[in-house]
């Protein structure tokens, strides 16, 4: 069966510090991978998605970037965090062209 992992689970970082959040998927090959941000327990904002290694589509111009160095690894990064980067970050995967996405447990980021 497939599983998706995210770490860390929680993170408190000062403004201006760098960020690296990691997501890995097990039990499937060539998945589509997605990064979302969720504010205040409401809807999901798609940040980036990837259909293959090195292929990244950005949805929202912002202070963040994403990379996919391996087939089942997706990384969300920032060089300098802003207060507005605080939120709940979710990684998800789907099969190629699949309509169902499966989410990881999320990372709670607080920027102080």
């Amino acid at each position: 069966s497939q599983t998706i992992h995210q770490w860390p689970a929680t993170l408190v970082q000062p403004v201006g510090s760098p960020l690296s959040l990691e997501c890995t998927v097990e039990g499937t090959s060539n998945p589509n991978l997605y990064w979302y941000r969720q504010a205040a327990g409401r809807g999901l904002q798609l940040l980036f998605y990837s259909v293959g290694i090195g292929q990244i589509s950005s949805e929202v111009p912002q202070n963040l970037s994403a990379s996919r160095p391996q087939d089942r690894q997706f990384i969300l990064s920032s060089k300098k965090l802003l207060l507005s980067d605080s939120g709940f970050y979710l990684c998800a995967w789907s099969v190629p062209w699949g309509d169902e996405q499966f989410f990881g447990p999320g990372t709670r980021l607080t920027v102080l």
Partner: protein
């Protein structure tokens, strides 16, 4: 822009009551998914509906896809405190981008 509007945004009811939440759009979707999310966790897929008019049941939850595949509803019978959570609908268009369009969610609280 494909938007999914969910209503109500918030719903607080007593244990044993019935409820319906709605997910509406002016766009046609190939399929629609419903997720439930508990605080501090990732969304969990409940169901996918594909055919216009389709009805799916999951224990006390009944999901319906509109005939025109533009809207959906979720009905919960005899709600229990364990049903508490954020209910999200998401639409997928086959042949478009490999992304889901998410509604902003309905936050349900079932009081014992």
């Amino acid at each position: 822009t494909q938007l999914l509007e969910q209503s109500p945004q918030f719903l607080s009811i007593q244990e044993g009551e019935n409820l319906t939440v709605y997910c509406n759009s002016s766009s046609v979707f190939s399929s629609l998914q419903w997720y439930r999310q508990e605080p501090g966790e990732g969304p969990v897929l409940l169901v996918t509906v594909v055919t216009g008019g389709e009805v799916k049941k999951l224990k006390r939850l009944t999901f319906q896809f509109g005939d025109a595949r533009k809207d959906s509803s979720l009905h919960i019978t005899a709600a229990q405190p364990g049903d508490t959570g954020l209910y999200l609908c998401a639409g997928f268009r086959r042949g478009g981008s490999e992304k889901l369009v998410f509604g902003k969610g309905t936050k349900l609280t079932v009081n014992p």
